[in-house]
Amino acid sequence: MGEPKLEAAIGMSRKWDAREAGREVTRSTIEKLTRPPDFFLLFSTIHYEKNGGFEELLNGVWDVLPKGTPLAGGTVAGFMNNYGCYARGATALAFSYPNINVAVGVGKNTKRNPKKAAKECAEMIMKQNTKVDFYFEFISGPIIPTFPGIGKQTVIRSKTSGNLMKKMIPALFRANRGTDRADEFLEYLVKYIDSPLIGAVCYDDGKLSKNYQFFNKEILKNSAILLGISTDMVPEFQTVSALKSRGVKIKVKREKDNRTVTKIDDKIATPELFRILNWKEGNVKEVEKFYSQAFYYPFCYKKEDKIHAVMLGLILGENIYFANKIESDELELFGLTGNKIISECKKAFSKKSDLVYGVICETYIETLGSSVYKIKDIIDNSTKDYLLLFAGGESIVYKNMVPHHLYESINILRI
């Protein structure tokens, strides 16, 4: 008898009808396997919400998928696989391998209480008595808050209104709105787990108004799903960043939440930020304009050798509210260019591999647009099968169990 052989299959559907797409993405995946799948990762863009709904997408999947197959996944901005690069459709990755066991954990209300959600997730995995070798994680993404009397706003320049809205942030979290808190979830989660992890933040088409997680037959919101894999396969993990320093360093004064910055270089934060970025209020007033620019001005610090980007979330009067926690008083302004993304992808995907599963920041596909096919050309030369997700944030934990919740990065699991 030969050694047990890993079978990994990637499928896709571009059908608009949710049920038909569910069937097609599943059929096109599992027909490539000679054995039933041990688990099934399902991803789709947000478009099925208006074309039959995600319940129908999952119904279509379960019309075809063998009963009892563990299923996890969620919505993403786009994906790249052997077939092409897409900002609309559904894709899936299924594994079949004789030496594999799977445990699934779910944590709910990740924005309201990430600590409790992480505990729920981990305890559910532990109850399944599976020694986990690595994890896939999928967590709910950010939802732009709607403030009473103001509506959807990201830039509130009035000091009084800004302070008022700042006080409302805990209420937003209780309502499961606002930033994803995926960084906090990961910090709590690593207290319970002892194996590497690769994670993706679920997302929509960049409007930041909704996102969903898939767990077996359920469509979830504001949840985290953890898939623990027990196997004798030894995957390799890798993180790459295309961020490039703009040569501007700042010192920030943070509040206790580590998200609110009150001072930059001892000056009031908001006007100083606008001065540094050369922003005019009118140019970033609308939500779309704000985020289309903010994503290209990440302030960063280094943790171990990883560049951690902290993303501008809201302007609340004199204060700046960041979407994730700041772990350093000294930050550096970085930027992103298409050329740097391509050159870093050449490094990341140069190694010959049978399978690559990757999570890439949504900003990369936004930046590259149609040139995202240049990344595909690179991967086609080195990798047999691959699925790369364009997500709203990326989590990675290596064997040393230091949690890295990143933005604007590329994280890879390679077999």
């Binding site: 608009w16 786009g78 092409g84 690069c85 900002a87 960049g206 779309e288 936004e366 647009g369 149609s370």
Partner: protein
């Protein structure tokens, strides 16, 4: 190979509102898919003074009506540039007018382009990926049609 197909289509379909359009045209179906995206308000295969293929229901989203005339005029000017430079590798063009943007994905070495009108603050990167997919699909369809034509005449 697809170039002669594009030229024959432009001869056949004439201009918007004066068409003998094949309802089962596979290229129109590609445009239908594009138009289903929320942020694509109008899309077509066009060249200067001529819309070659429209989505199969012959219409765009209503929001575009108020600005269509001026955008259409500006589009024709852009096609002057496309016809001048498409042979030298011009692949994409775009312009912003008021609250809208027009994206032109040129079919290589021709004077034709896939054109979409989108809101100015749409997430353009994601739309561009689907524009590129549509361009590739249309090129593949044209190649198939050209091959079929050659087989018939052979």
């Amino acid at each position: 190979m697809y170039k002669s197909i594009l030229n024959s289509k432009t001869m056949k379909y004439n201009i918007l509102g004066d068409v003998d359009r094949m309802r089962d045209d596979p290229i129109a179906k590609v445009l239908d898919d594009l138009l289903k995206l929320d942020d694509i308000l109008a899309c077509m295969v066009a060249r200067q003074n001529m819309i070659s293929v429209m989505p199969s229901n012959d219409s765009f989203k209503a929001e575009i009506n108020q600005i269509w005339d001026i955008i259409h005029r500006a589009m024709d000017d852009v096609f002057t540039v496309i016809s001048e430079y498409s042979q030298t590798g011009l692949g994409e063009m775009e312009f912003r007018m008021q609250e809208y943007e027009a994206l032109f994905y040129v079919f290589p070495d021709t004077e034709n382009a896939l054109v979409s009108i989108i809101p100015a603050f749409a997430n353009k990167g994601l739309i561009e990926v689907e524009m590129e997919n549509a361009r590739r699909e249309i090129l593949a369809i044209m190649d198939e049609q050209e091959k079929a034509k050659i087989e018939v005449t052979a």
